[in-house]
């Protein structure tokens, strides 16, 4: 950073700062410091002698205000600044280059932090999950609907899905693997997750028909869009970028609208098991239309805040296969 101010450039920059406004010495120092986010922090021992020299040269003058010297540019100083405007442009270019450098450093730094945090939370979450299981087990009859061992198993089975292992760590490694590389999501995985959303939502059966239809359609299109986007992500072609942009716009609007309504129905609201029977997650062939109309026909008043008395998502009993199987 200090090389920026080689070859008389600090002098030039001081003139520039004084051209903008009359300033006192300390103000100049703090401006320089702020400008470089503390990276360049000139000492009074650097600045005051230079101001004095500029004054000797007749480029600046000062007056005492409240016991402090306030420096201002003279006409000669202004002329000097104009004469060297090309140098000033160069300097400013270098200064903004350093904006880029600082921004890069910030980005790298934040990423490191996030990476550390991710690792840390991953291991802590694993611990918490184990403790939770232990607690559940200790509680014994804490949840009569959930046998102890099967409870722990279902916990994990549900989260990791039918084709992931039983290890809770899998959730994390899977998620971070997929989360980390942004666009390079596995096509199959995407499809499966969105199908799962659709079925989960539909089986909650808690929205009016129009809304469910909207969501269905949106998700179906979205799934396709994503798959296409993912396919193209490797070589962000013109079309892909354009599509991404469009999808962004529409998706945001859709998410805003629909996410507000995610969630189970209120207790006592009827849910219909028929929705559940259609909800076998079969990414390859699930027919959204059928599920939609089923849920729509039986829709009750939506209440996004409250859970259903019973969500009949599964055709199966409570077991490891809480997510019925592909």
């Amino acid at each position: 950073m200090s090389t920026i101010f080689g070859h008389g450039r600090l002098r030039l920059y001081l003139l520039k700062l004084l051209e903008e406004n009359p300033r006192h010495g300390y103000e100049i120092i703090s401006l320089l410091r702020d400008r470089f986010l503390g990276v360049y922090s000139p000492s009074p021992g650097t600045i005051y002698p230079r101001l004095a020299r500029l004054e000797e040269e007749g480029l600046v003058t000062h007056e005492e205000v409240d016991g402090r010297k306030v420096y201002r540019l003279t006409e000669a100083g202004r002329a000097e600044l104009n004469r060297r405007s090309a140098d000033l442009d160069d300097l400013e270019r270098d200064l903004t280059d350093s904006v880029r450098d600082i921004a890069r450093a910030v980005q790298r730094d934040v990423r490191d932090t996030i990476g550390t945090l991710r690792e840390e939370l991953k291991s802590v979450a694993g611990d918490a999950r184990r403790q939770e299981r232990d607690r559940t087990r200790d509680a014994g009859t804490h949840d009569p609907h959930r046998p102890q061992e099967a409870g722990a198993g279902a916990d994990r089975g549900a989260a990791t899905g039918p084709d992931s292992g039983d290890d809770a760590e899998d959730v994390w490694s899977r998620a971070s693997r997929e989360g980390n590389d942004g666009s390079a999501h596995d096509d199959t995985w995407w499809h499966r997750e969105w199908e799962r959303l659709r079925h989960s939502f539909v089986s909650w059966g808690n929205t009016d028909s129009q809304q469910v239809r909207d969501l269905e359609r949106t998700l179906r299109e979205f799934t396709n869009q994503i798959r296409e986007a993912v396919r193209d992500a490797g070589q962000l072609s013109g079309t892909a970028t354009t599509n991404l942009r469009q999808m962004l716009d529409e998706t945001i609007a859709v998410l805003r609208r629909d996410l507000a309504h995610w969630g189970p129905t209120s207790p006592g609201t009827s849910t219909d098991a028929r929705a559940g029977t259609d909800s076998e997650p079969d990414p390859g062939s699930a027919d959204a239309g059928d599920a939609t109309s089923t849920a729509a026909d039986t829709a009750a008043t939506p209440d996004p805040q409250d859970p259903p008395a019973e969500a009949k998502e599964d055709g199966h009993g409570r077991s490891d296969s809480a997510q019925p199987g592909t």
Binding site: R35, V110, A128, A158, W204, A229, L248
Partner: protein, 297 residues
């Protein structure tokens, strides 16, 4: 090389920029950037605003200064409805839009409201305290030491945040959110498949709402936090380092309860469809997730 400003009236200035350019401006009170690819870097300053545009590929950048608003965009994208105008039916007029790239470096007053929209350009912003609005399709976004009101929407871009204060709203289809350190009075994050990670303090009476479809959620809060908590998931695992009541039904698991005894409890809700959801505790002696590398350049 930039053209000389074409002054229209007193406050309007325009620059068409097709070569690397640096400008210093006074009197900027708001910033708008809308570009396609490249980078946008924003840092705070007490000085007059500086902006630099470089690495220009494709159409020249148009910068305007009007009524204190600095706008950096393209000639054909100047009006509102950037996204609207890019729908396929209207795209024929905008040739090679997606090939456009530029690096935009800015220094602005820290309380200056900022609105940045990009297609694939990444955005880094640090030290801001006004209102910060970022939208990106696929660009990755980084915020450091940012406060005030923060609104971020992405399609697939991730948002990394460190040392945040105030309110943070994040909406994404595919992008994840990670928050390391800071204190929020309002954190709302919704994503389809992205992960949500947050290690933050929650202000008294603050609100935290986290929702995903398939993305995992991990929220770590200080052990001494007071809050009412409700975590729900259709098929995802729920766990908590605080003692919460568990309710399991077919297709819906819940963890709910109170944490701490403070008089001004926060409200924390988490909802996923299939994502795992963890509420974690940061012990008082443990440092917040502030890392080795602050200013380590």
């Amino acid at each position: 090389m930039s053209q000389e400003p074409e002054t229209e009236g007193i406050v309007m200035a325009r620059w068409t920029i097709d070569q690397p350019t640096v400008r210093t401006l006074d009197g900027i009170v708001a910033l708008r950037v809308r570009i396609v690819g490249g980078h946008v870097n924003i840092l705070p300053t007490d000085d007059p605003v500086t902006f630099e545009v470089s690495d220009i590929v494709g159409e020249p950048i148009l910068a305007t200064q009007e009524a204190g608003i600095l706008t950096i965009t393209y000639e054909d994208l100047t009006r509102d409805g950037f996204m609207e105008r890019l729908r396929p039916s209207r795209l024929s007029g905008y040739r090679h839009v997606s090939q456009r790239r530029a690096t935009v470096n800015l220094r602005i007053p820290k309380d200056c409201p900022v609105e940045v929209t990009t297609a694939s350009a990444s955005v880094v912003a640090a030290g801001l305290s006004g209102k910060t609005t970022l939208r990106s399709a696929s660009g990755d976004l980084t915020l450091d030491d940012v406060g005030g009101e923060i609104e971020v929407s992405t399609f697939s871009g991730a948002l990394d945040v460190r040392d945040v204060t105030g309110s943070l709203h994040f909406t994404s289809a595919n992008g994840g959110l990670a928050v390391a350190g800071g204190q929020l009075s309002d954190l709302s994050a919704k994503t389809g498949a992205g992960q949500l990670l947050a290690d933050v303090d929650v202000s008294g009476a603050g609100r935290v709402r986290l929702a995903t479809v398939s993305g995992d959620v991990a929220l770590r809060i200080p052990a001494e936090t007071s809050a009412s908590v409700e975590l729900r998931s259709a098929t995802g695992t729920l766990d908590s380092a605080f003692g919460l009541d568990r309710q399991d039904q077919r297709g819906l698991s819940k963890l709910r309860g109170k944490v701490g005894n403070g008089i001004d409890p926060a409200h924390i809700t988490g909802t996923t469809v299939s994502g795992a959801l963890s509420l974690l505790r940061r012990d008082p002696e443990a440092p917040a997730a502030i890392p080795e590398g602050r200013n380590g350049q």
